[in-house]
């Protein structure tokens, strides 16, 4: 798989979805999430769930629903120096409402800035501590005069519900592949409109094929969304055999895969192998109990085989959680690359299988079966022929095709193709 220079139609379509979703004010609850899910539903038939405020979910409870219509700060001349309608990051997410006149000193206690990137507006939240606040660039902050300001946040924090979207594709097996992505961030393009849009397009691709596994896509607010789903779906958890948390898939960074808590789950081996055989820079990170919803899916009481795929890593690039994570920061060609890479992962999940070599003593005579080159003595065997030999040698019941791909260092696709040739010539039998 080569680095894409020009995106094809697919990359542009994914980017277009991000563009539509970008202006919406999302949070962990509220109408912004509903609006987002409605737009995603134009691509795949999402089931929308609403979990009422106050519902007990594991150790937590569903919070009050937050909605906001307007917010600003006016200076003493009545000029809006901060306007929520131009950038929703300006309001501390989950702010309580406020409307009053205050002096600079008091205002400053409610302002959040990023001194290290003084032109950018930070993204900040206060879900559990009921306060109000504004975010602004540090340069603007420094220019504030000692005068009277009028602050207004027209927000509500009331009984309502937490919304999330779910899309289930029934496969041949009840065993599931779980894909989740967080939908709770406002105007941040990479974090996580990229995850939402790529998930939607991958789901749309998968529902059009006949798959071996069932696939479940969750579009959920981070933390409280996964906790809600886990709490309400205890009966489905045992079916999850593979899982991926998708986020930050549109920037120009290399792929970074964070392993599941199990460390050697099949999904961990699959993604690491797919990354390795791409022949481009990548990272594989050990599990740690911080990050996105792997914190919940990989908590010790579940310990699910769920890893996380991103390009750049949250918190490790300067644009993270700032106004600079905008539409310029995500690239159609990178979105497409993420989409294609995910497709190769799902192809590996679908194609992996363990076979038994039916002719285990010595090599079978491949030439007679039309599977081997005709002139001997050459110094190198071709990849396909080597793949045949690897599969025959390792198909003793202990090694899946994935294991064979890893040991032989060939990409899974070649191993799968060679296995198909051996099945056709009755040299391999599937182990059920």
């Amino acid at each position: 798989m080569k680095e894409l220079i020009h995106p094809t139609e697919k990359g542009k379509e994914i980017f277009n979805l991000i563009e539509r979703l970008y202006p919406i004010t999302r949070s962990i609850t509220g109408n912004g999430v509903r609006e987002t899910l409605a737009i995603v539903s134009e691509h795949i038939p999402l089931v929308i769930h609403e979990v009422p405020s106050g519902t007990k979910i594991l150790d937590w409870e569903v919070p009050l629903e937050w909605n906001i219509t307007d917010a600003w700060i006016k200076n003493s001349k009545g000029e809006k120096i901060i306007d929520f309608k131009t950038l929703n990051l300006h309001v501390l997410n989950y702010s309580i409402p406020v409307h009053k006149k205050i002096n600079l000193e008091e205002l400053k206690e409610h302002l959040f800035t990023l001194p290290e990137s003084p032109d950018w507006v930070p993204y900040r939240t206060s879900y559990h501590n009921k306060i109000w606040g504004f975010c602004m660039s540090h340069n603007q902050f420094k220019s504030l005069k000692d005068e009277e300001y009028e602050v207004m946040i027209n927000a509500t924090l009331e009984d309502g519900s937490l919304s999330y979207g779910e899309f289930y594709i029934k496969g041949e097996l009840e065993d599931e592949v779980l894909i989740t992505t967080h939908v709770c961030h406002p105007s941040l393009a990479n974090d996580n409109l990229s995850g939402i849009a790529v998930s939607a397009f991958i789901a749309d691709t998968l529902r059009k094929i006949k798959s071996k596994y069932s696939y479940r896509f969750l579009f959920i607010p981070a933390t409280v969304g996964s906790i809600a789903w886990l709490s309400l779906n205890e009966d489905k958890i045992d079916k999850i055999k593979y899982g991926l948390i998708l986020a930050l898939l549109g920037d120009e960074g290399k792929f970074n895969y964070k392993k599941s808590r199990r460390d050697t789950a099949v999904i961990d081996k699959i993604v690491a192998h797919c990354l390795k055989t791409r022949n481009e820079a990548y990272g594989v990170l050990d599990f740690s109990p911080y990050g996105y919803d792997e914190r919940q899916f990989c908590s010790p009481g579940y310990n699910l085989p769920v890893g996380r795929l991103s390009r750049s890593i949250h918190g490790e690039f300067p644009e993270y959680h700032t106004s600079a994570d905008n539409l310029d920061f995500v690239k159609p060609e990178k979105l497409e690359e993420s989409f294609e890479f995910l497709r190769s992962i799902f192809q590996t999940i679908e194609g992996n299988q363990t076979y038994l070599n039916l002719n285990p003593k010595g090599e079978p005579q491949l030439g007679r079966r039309g599977l081997f080159k005709k002139i001997g003595g050459h110094s190198t065997a071709k990849d396909f022929q080597m793949a045949l030999l690897w599969i025959l040698n390792l198909s003793d019941g202990e090694n899946s095709l994935l294991d064979i791909a890893i040991k032989s260092k060939f990409d899974f696709e070649l191993i799968r193709k060679a296995a198909d040739s051996l099945i056709e010539t009755n040299l391999l039998q599937e182990i059920v």
Copy 2:
């Protein structure tokens, strides 16, 4: 073991055997193999087996026997431009007979050359595809004129048999060490007259000692020879506890050991340790299902503890399978070094054993037993004394002398010698 600069008599004798065998036209069947085995029989009393063409051997069958007496290409003036009698590599091995006049265009379809080494003649075979052909230097190929040629190959491909040689040395135990080497290549000195000659001399050495293990030497055509032997000797396979495939032992490259499919068989540990303690460059390669007869002995239905010892690796040096693999390419001193190194491997196989420290609580008082230096306080203990301590400390029933040599990083010979001292002083007991 130091790098040998001048070979002793042994190196010259091994080289002399190669010189005698070099001109013979060998293939996977035919009189060339028989002639080769007859000459080897002057060194060790080989049993010669003949397996008739058509015999079913595992998934294969013994091919028709190929013999050739003459071959040439004449140009339009009747001059021999290619003459099999000057170099048997000129004929595609297993060519069907031919005698006709053809134009250059048709001739070219039957010619094999090596553009990357334009002075050398390649070695090519076509065992399974019944065609005829010639091999020549690429420079000669480029100089061919567009004229009429006469081609003649006086070969037969008929019912006959596959020949191989076997030499069995009865040891104290029925457990066997298997050593195999391929005998099917024509005038190629390193590949594999070096393997044949070194094997013959090692076998001759081993038959003159009283060994613990039984040793079985096979001089076989590659692939079809090992398949024949495996097919006809199912009852002997369980006795094979160690095995080595020997090939390419005369060139100037470092030793390369390819591990058995088991990866951690005792033979794998022995050879790796013997290589490491030589203090010279070496390679240890993971198993892969390509190469020489490890493809058969290490197929999943057998999975024998058989590794492969070579100097340079097949396919990885330019002279491989070309006319440049001639008598100049193999060196008496390197043959002797290979012979000596193999001897150290067999000494390790013979000397390895697990013992129990009979005085496991605290150190035994070695001084009283004459096993320790007399003046204390020196900063370093001598190697022999350290070896004593390692053996005593690790002889808990879990570690063989080989394991102790590996952990202590001492060479096996020293460990064996120190163990003998401890046995003499009744501090160790053999575990049966």
Copy 3:
């Protein structure tokens, strides 16, 4: 833990004890050991054991007791050219008595020097070979004239006893931590007055706290002392859960920990982790059957979880076993650092425990329990908060706090502190 530049009172106190012990002539038996133990008893209430000469101890027997009052060499003018009273290293330790006139040639057979450090006097012993001898600088040796010399060693080698000190601190559990240090070297400051003095101060610290584990300190002559203790205390051996041999703790080298024979005992993991989180250079060495009393405690019949902590390694620094290992060679600040580092090891032993996360499904809501920061969206979580998450995630019954510290790479102290917060909020339960 930062490099100490100026020692505090503790470092000076440890050094003062070394200064007092330095002039005493110690050996594996004799009054020098008794005098040493008596001085240590001023710090901690040692029990002094006397094991009579000839007592069978494992494979050994307690040697005759050696005492010495004076020794010298006089030249032909009657001038003392070597005087034991100025440096006790001048006498070969365990020399038999002698008093006679001899020529230079004969004298030389009884002299030990260090040609590679010609100004220093070596330390040499001859416990098992009954000879007499002197040690001198190589420069002095070279200046000896060919004249008559008078040699005198007023020593006794008689029935007596082997002395060692033992100090036992009863903890909550009968499970023991064993700390041993060798007391048999004469005027060598680092080897091993540093070990004796640091052990005494650590023991004094431990006896003043209420500990979970019981602690046993042994002040023993090397080899024969540990063999005697092991032989006489078979009933206590099973209680030893952790152990450290302490030696060479005052020089300026980095810490070097030698692992127990078990290689992965908890003590091995504890010391390696404590070393790693100090953020200074250190070494961790594999077990080998040479060195100090690990040779006995880690013999296969005991195989105790006993490692060894030193700064520089015996035999690997030029001053080792020479007159240059004097009071200038040990530094108060390094002694204090060793003391503090040992304290962190014992704190880890004491604080290590396995807990069960009582809320294993998803993360517990830490904010509500006052355990989490209030403003979200920041790019980094603080160490303490990360420690909470690591503990919750890994407290599945399989991981101790030590394991969690190792996996999270946090120092044990932070993990212990975070665990305490989780216990207070009823999120963790101790596994008994």
